[in-house]
């Protein structure tokens, strides 16, 4: 049997293919939008994965360290380490700031990690793409490749200059900012020690206070200045459980006996995805929904107008006695073929366009499959309207025209 749909497509194949490409670009945009949404969620999860922690111990009653600020003493990790079920505990600081390199600056999340501790202790970048891990206790940095820094670059964070010794990938904050890892003691300084001007001003302020600057007791002023310029706080303690450890039980014990707030991985995901990026991801989700509806409407319209273009030919077919089933099959097959071409073009353009987006775009195969099914359903539904129009046409139109 001769394929009516195939012959019709061959008859005007240029028009058909170009319509398919145009439709494909629209589907591509929709897929990219879905990728932007997935990327946003993935950024949040990447942050949790990269920390390598099972539990986050933070300041009491805070949702820190990512969603809220949290500050705890840096010697608390020793008491946490002594809790049963805890295999490793490491201090960590997070600070989102502009990192300067020469004339330019890059927005980055500066992470303070404990260098020299056991390899791959919580907070460390788990893999590198170039260079090496930090070995010195000061003034070395490992940067995410998205920051644009290269090996050997000198970057400035607050008061100190750091040499980039390693590069990593996909180490980002929940808002997609690249991470820069530096030794913990430097990070504590960066977070708590102010710039020189502020320090001088603070010293003058303290000196003007008669409570601190007593006549005959000049040592008090020095002591107060020293205590103001020292920092012994960190943002969180990352805890890795012993094999087979029960996260909730250990968290409960730390909450109860150490009087600190502890978040488990599930709670942290809830905080990051449910609270931190909730509105922006809903925004993107809303946009995605609108885009899907618009795409569906345009697909329906294209198929409808393609059918309307050949309404005379359909009338002729009916006139020569073609069965309705054959006509309906032709329109449906064409719609599905158009959808397939459109999906292929869309998937290809989305994949090639994704790396050029400034933020991470994650194209999941499941999303692509769901998209394909949705396109097929939309095409089939759209062809139903066209089929109804075609079947209603009066064969007399073929000669009446």
């Amino acid at each position: 049997m001769i394929s009516l749909a195939g012959r019709d497509i061959l008859h005007s194949w240029g028009k058909f293919v170009f319509t398919g490409v145009g439709l494909g670009l629209l589907i591509g945009v929709t897929l990219v939008m879905a990728g932007v949404y997935r990327g946003m969620v993935d950024d949040g999860k990447a942050l949790l994965d990269n920390s390598g922690a099972d539990l986050w111990v933070v300041q009491r009653d805070t949702l820190g360290p990512y969603a809220e600020s949290s500050s705890i003493s840096d010697d608390l990790y020793r008491t946490v380490l002594a809790m049963p079920g805890v295999a490793e505990a490491a201090n960590v600081t997070y600070l989102t700031m502009q990192v300067r390199q020469g004339e330019t600056d890059v927005r980055a999340m500066v992470v303070g990690i404990m260098p020299g501790a056991a390899w791959g202790s919580p907070g460390w970048p788990s893999y590198l793409v170039e260079g090496r891990q930090i070995t010195r206790g000061h003034y070395e940095a490992v940067a995410d490749i998205a920051s644009g820094f290269g090996l050997g670059d000198e970057i400035t964070i607050r008061r100190n200059r750091y040499q980039v010794v390693g590069l990593t990938r996909r180490m980002v904050s929940s808002s997609g900012d690249p991470m820069v890892f530096i030794p913990l003691k430097d990070a504590q300084e960066a977070q708590f020690l102010k710039d020189n001007e502020a320090i001088w001003q603070n010293r003058r302020r303290t000196a003007a206070n008669p409570a601190f600057n007593r006549p005959g007791q000049p040592d008090i002023l020095d002591a107060v200045d020293a205590s103001q310029a020292s920092s012994t706080s960190v943002n969180a303690i990352l805890v890795r459980l012993a094999p087979g450890g029960d996260a909730e039980a250990v968290a409960q014990a730390i909450r109860r006996w150490k009087r600190l707030t502890v978040h488990t991985r599930a709670e942290m995901e809830d905080i990051l995805i449910g609270k931190l990026i909730a509105t922006s991801s809903r925004q993107i989700g809303m946009f995605l929904a609108i885009l899907s509806i618009v795409s569906a409407a345009i697909v329906a319209f294209i198929i409808y107008s393609l059918t309307m273009d050949k309404i005379r030919e359909i009338a002729v077919l009916k006139l020569i006695g073609t069965r309705n089933r054959t006509i309906a099959g032709m329109i449906l097959q064409q719609a599905l073929a158009l959808g397939t071409i459109g999906f292929a073009v869309g998937k290809i353009t989305a994949t090639f366009a994704a790396p050029y987006f400034p933020k991470y775009v994650l194209l999941l195969p499941m999303d692509a499959i769901a998209g394909f099914i949705a396109v097929m359903i939309i095409c089939a539904l759209a062809s139903l309207i066209a089929i109804r129009m075609a079947l209603k046409v009066d064969p007399a139109e073929a000669i009446g025209g």
Binding site: M114, G120, Y139, G150, G166, R170, K185, T351
Partner: protein, 383 residues
């Protein structure tokens, strides 16, 4: 003719569909979970490592002398300025005596009065003694009563006591005067050792408390670096280790020195071990005290053994290891690590042999079933 045109169209359409299909297959296999993970590899080599420790610190002086008055008073003059060299015993300033001289004059006159009192008491004692002697002879001749003699003897004892009192009073006053005199002597601020003046805390006219620093002197020969080293990476630290010191102002210039001593008391809050590093030859000009310095301590080289870059070391659960290439497939091998150097090389004690191929860098985290492709450089890394 018509048929060939139809065939041409068919061919063109098939070509377009074939291109689309090929691109789609490429996209499906080269992105997403099916895409291979780009990795770089390296061969494990036997090397000798030279581990080193790294710390930061500040320039300080071992011997710092803080000179000040022993009691509260006003500074009258200071003869040295910051940066001046002083020698031991040199007078570097003086305190204002205020009323000290007047008090000494008063004390001197009071002493003259006391001396007169001594003379008077001595005279009284001599007279009482002769009276007592005379009445004794009178009693012997039965010319007076015993009662009168007893009175005279009592007068003599009283006169002796009064004389002793006057003499000790005089002694006290003499001691007071000498106390004032030594106070007067202490008004001079004297350099206890040769060195350089680093601080002139107050200016003449200022009233200072007893013990407060007026002038600070350091011995430049005793300049050292007060270094802090993180305790987790301070293994192998001992006195006498050669040290390389880079001053913040030094523009990368390396000064040589050695570890003088490790402080027996570490800092428990910052978890740092404190050490003192002295220079082999003092830098000229002298760096300012408090200048920041980075110190690298070279440890003795360790014997040859398999060495891997620290970027190759990964974690799987609670095990530390590296990904080894076994017939092109990645296999996680747990390793036992030895010493590391500051250049990022780590010695492997157990788990790897020379010539093993291991994965150094990877585009993503690796898993046991990861599909890898070995490249020279991870995509996106600019050389």
């Amino acid at each position: 003719m018509n048929i060939t045109a139809m065939q041409r169209r068919k061919l063109a359409l098939i070509a377009v569909i074939a291109v689309l299909g090929a691109l789609l297959a490429y996209v499906a296999l080269r992105s997403g979970p099916l895409a291979p993970i780009a990795v770089t590899t390296a061969k494990v080599e036997s090397q000798s490592l030279r581990p080193a420790l790294f710390g930061v610190g500040t320039i300080d002086a071992e011997r710092t002398y803080r000179v000040g008055p022993t009691f509260a008073g006003r500074v009258r003059s200071l003869t040295v300025n910051v940066g001046d060299r002083v020698v031991a015993g040199q007078t570097i300033g003086e305190m204002d005596p205020v009323d000290l001289d007047d008090r000494m004059a008063a004390q001197a006159s009071a002493m003259q009065g006391a001396e007169a009192a001594v003379r008077e008491a001595t005279a009284r004692q001599a007279y009482a003694a002769s009276e007592a002697g005379r009445y004794e002879s009178l009693l012997a001749a039965r010319a007076t009563s015993e009662e009168v003699l007893a009175a005279k003897r009592q007068e003599l004892v009283a006169a002796k006591a009064a004389a002793a009192n006057a003499r000790s009073n005089l002694e006290r006053m003499r001691a007071d005067l000498s106390g004032l005199q030594s106070q007067r002597g202490n008004l001079r601020l004297i350099a206890p050792a040769s060195g350089i003046v680093t601080l002139r805390e107050v200016e003449p006219g200022t009233v200072v408390a007893g013990g407060q620093t007026v002038i600070e002197i350091i011995d430049p020969a005793s300049l050292w670096v007060d270094v802090r080293i993180d305790q987790v990476s301070s293994g192998g630290l001992r006195a006498g280790l050669p040290a390389r010191v880079q001053l913040r102002s030094g523009d990368g210039k390396v000064l040589h020195g050695r570890v003088l001593r490790i402080e027996p008391r570490a800092d428990p809050i910052t978890e740092e071990t404190l050490i003192k590093v002295v220079f082999d030859t003092l830098p000229t000009p002298l760096p300012p005290l408090g200048e920041f310095a980075e110190v690298t301590l070279d440890l003795a080289p360790i014997a040859k053994g398999p060495v891997v870059p620290n970027a190759a070391i990964r974690r799987m659960g609670d095990r530390i290891g590296v990904w080894k290439l076994d017939d092109g497939d990645p296999v996680f091998v747990p390793v036992e690590l030895g010493k590391a150097d500051l250049g990022g090389r780590v010695q492997v004690l157990k788990g790897l042999d020379d010539g093993d191929t291991i994965i150094v860098y990877s585009e993503q985290e690796l898993g046991p079933n990861s599909n890898i492709s070995v490249v020279d450089r991870i995509p996106g890394v600019t050389p």
